[in-house]
Amino acid sequence: MKKSNDIFLETVHNIQQTYGYIPEREINQLAEKFDQPRAKIYGAIKFYSMLYTEPTGKYIIRICDSLSCHLKDSHDLLLAVQDYLGLEDGETSSDQLFTLEIVECLGHCGEGPVMMVNDKMYTELTKGKALEILQDCK
């Protein structure tokens, strides 16, 4: 069954919403649905940094380290968060609570440094504020 490609992203988002990531068996099914090699589906998913092919933590913490945030000491913020979580870039905690990612611009360059927790954006952060936010994540 061949489906039009324009609903591909929507389909993938739905799967991610259901499972928190795109499991291998779902990629196999997408390949059949869209009549494409499964490597190609995999590549399309990997193109987007906010789509995952492995399970992630309950909270995905994204810290911007692009130019504007960097000038506002995002690196310091990052070190503090890394220290608190005990995670390096891209890692997920063993209790599956947190995934940490250092990311490019999140679109709030005037309000740096910024951090995202799942879909919520926090701006003009200090180390203290960031740790408070993380402590509330349970």
């Binding site: 090699p37 490597a39 590549g43 193109f47």
Partner: protein, 575 residues
């Protein structure tokens, strides 16, 4: 028609022609890396940029259509400046190090980057190469991937998807992080890769190459306790002289034998002999299954890339495959039984080496059901390298004959190298097996040539007309399987994984100086010139084959033949 001016030369082209094609028409060479004639346009490397009508923005010639009145400059100072800078950027992403890794690279003598550097007239290299520290992929028995050498030109991805119809590669991530990878980063050995090696032929750098077996062969050759025998496939003889500067299609059978004897092999044999045996076994099976209407059509089984393809994509049809082993594996099985007996050597001490135009043969030799009968498989390229490094130029050698017993071949074996060859050889013998008479008009032309899908009807007797099909290149194999699925009737269908058959195999020499189409055509002419020059062109006429059956195997399809010369297949699906 569109009229335009390229480098002050007027040119007229069909609408839809790209500037790159128009320039090539008047022998202006615009350098490219990501462009390949038979693949779709990618426009990624940007090396082919040209100036159009003096415009500010340079245009990629591969992706820009020629139009009336265009004034194109392909090598103006501005273009050359931009092109040099682009090339510097590409090279910085390619793993060139001060450890002189160019010298050990598989593409040492066929590097497209070097050719392009020369075409551009590169005079500076301002950027330090970026070493990405990516891991090599050693998961496959046939092919190694070195992603640090990859310049993400996309050619392997397009070759696999567009020409072979599979698509095991994909780009992952974006920008400078872009990486060519396989499904779930599983590695080529753990996905639906058929090991055909066409990606290696397309790669402009050394990012893809075969799993080397040459070290093992050197060790065996210098081990006095080992009796090392080698077989050479039909398609190797029309390509082995290429690394020594000869044109594709140059027939160097005798010189190859001579070179291998100098290397120190204890016996040099012709895979044609077992190609021949394959025909006897497969032909017998075809006749039996056609008469009994048993799982038709019979599908050929000699191309290991095709076998892996059907195991992954059409596992329901495995019962249609001929159970005959490929010539390579038949040779291995006989070398360690019949030959060991004849030569009075302990089979344990025999090392069997194959020289094949093929990377998938390496995987085939490692299949558990093949019992390790073939110890090492060298591609034509590896054999060329070994011969060179022994101080031998194959073109200077006198011709020698293959060793006996497995050495007498009929022309029917030589044409195995080309698409349609197995079919033609099998028909010559099947005709005899059914009618007891020789096929008079021996050239069966409709199954020859480079058309992707070929069909023919061969009248055998009043009651029976054999319907046969031939497909080469895996996209065509898929089309043929779909026809069969839809119910089109065939008795016997030949499949070859590589475009053109074995002459276009993934283990053949890589040409930086001509398109693969041109090389194929020349090798094809070489193959048929050998066939037509041979007196004995029917497999069943070979006296050695008769002797082998009389003394050892009994008759085609016998119990012993089944044990040694037939095999089984594995339904793999997509896991």
């Amino acid at each position: 028609m569109k009229r335009l001016e390229i480098d002050n030369i007027e040119v007229e082209v069909e609408p839809g022609t790209t500037l790159l094609e128009a320039a090539r028409k008047i022998n202006v060479n615009i350098p490219t890396l990501c462009y390949e004639e038979e693949l779709s346009i990618f426009g990624g490397c940007r090396l082919c940029v040209v100036e159009v009508n003096g415009g500010e923005l340079l245009k990629p010639a591969c992706a820009t259509e020629a139009d009336d009145g265009m004034i194109v400059k392909t090598h103006s100072p501005r273009v050359r400046e931009v092109r040099q800078t682009l090339f510097e950027l590409i090279i910085a992403s390619h793993d060139i190090s001060c450890e002189l890794n160019c010298l050990t690279c598989t593409r040492q003598s066929s590097c497209e980057l070097r050719v392009v550097a020369e075409d551009i007239g590169i005079s500076r290299m301002r950027l330090n190469p970026i070493y990405r520290g990516l891991e090599k992929d050693f998961s496959s028995h046939s092919i190694v991937r070195e992603p640090n050498k990859c310049i993400t030109c996309d050619r392997c991805i397009r070759k696999c998807e567009e020409i072979q119809g599979i698509g095991i590669f994909a780009n992952s991530a974006r920008g400078p992080e872009t990486e060519v990878t396989t499904f779930q980063d599983k590695g080529m050995g753990n996905v639906e890769c058929t090991n055909c090696g066409q990606c290696i032929i397309s790669c402009p750098t050394g990012a893809l190459h075969e799993v080397y077996h040459s070290e093992g062969v050197w060790d065996a050759l210098y081990d006095e306790n080992k009796h090392v025998v080698v077989q050479t496939a039909p398609a190797v003889r029309v390509a082995i002289a290429e690394p020594f500067g000869a044109e594709p299609g140059t027939v160097a059978t005798g010189q190859l034998v001579s070179a291998l004897k100098r290397l120190g092999f204890d016996g040099v044999f012709d895979t044609n002999f077992t190609a021949y045996l394959t025909i006897m076994e497969e032909g017998t099976e075809v006749v039996k299954r056609v008469t009994e209407n048993d799982n038709l059509p019979v599908l050929t089984s000699c191309s290991p890339g095709w076998i892996k393809f059907i195991e992954h994509f059409y596992p329901d049809y495995l019962k249609n495959l001929s159970t005959a082993k490929s010539p390579q594996q038949m040779f291995g099985a006989l070398a360690k039984t019949y030959y060991a007996e004849q030569a009075g050597v302990d089979p344990e001490d025999i090392v069997v080496v194959s020289i094949m135009p093929c990377t998938a043969k390496k995987f085939e030799s490692r299949r558990p059901e093949m019992n390790g009968d073939v110890d090492f498989v060298l591609t034509t390229r590896e054999a060329g390298m070994m011969i060179k490094s022994a101080g031998i130029n194959i073109c200077d050698l006198p011709e020698e004959n293959y060793d006996n017993l497995m050495g007498v071949s009929s022309g029917a074996g030589d044409i195995f190298a080309a698409s349609g060859g197995v079919m033609e050889a099998a028909l010559r013998s099947a005709y005899y097996l059914i009618t007891g008479e020789e096929l008079e008009d021996i050239d069966i032309k409709p199954v020859r040539g480079l058309t992707g899908l070929k069909k023919a009807e061969v009248p055998i007797n009043e009651d029976l007309t054999l319907k046969v099909g031939v497909a080469h290149g895996l996209s065509n194999a898929r089309k043929m399987m779909e026809l069969i699925k839809e119910g089109e009737e065939f008795h016997f269908v030949e499949f070859m994984a590589c475009p053109g058959g074995c002459i276009g195999g993934g283990g053949q020499p890589i040409r930086a100086d001509m398109t693969s189409e041109e090389a194929l055509q020349k090798r094809l002419e070489g193959v048929y010139s050998i066939d037509s020059s041979k007196k004995m062109r029917r497999s069943h006429e070979n006296p050695m084959i008769q002797k082998l059956y009389d003394e050892f195997l009994g008759k085609p399809g016998s119990h012993k033949a089944h044990k040694l010369l037939h095999t089984e297949y594995t339904a793999r699906g997509l896991n």
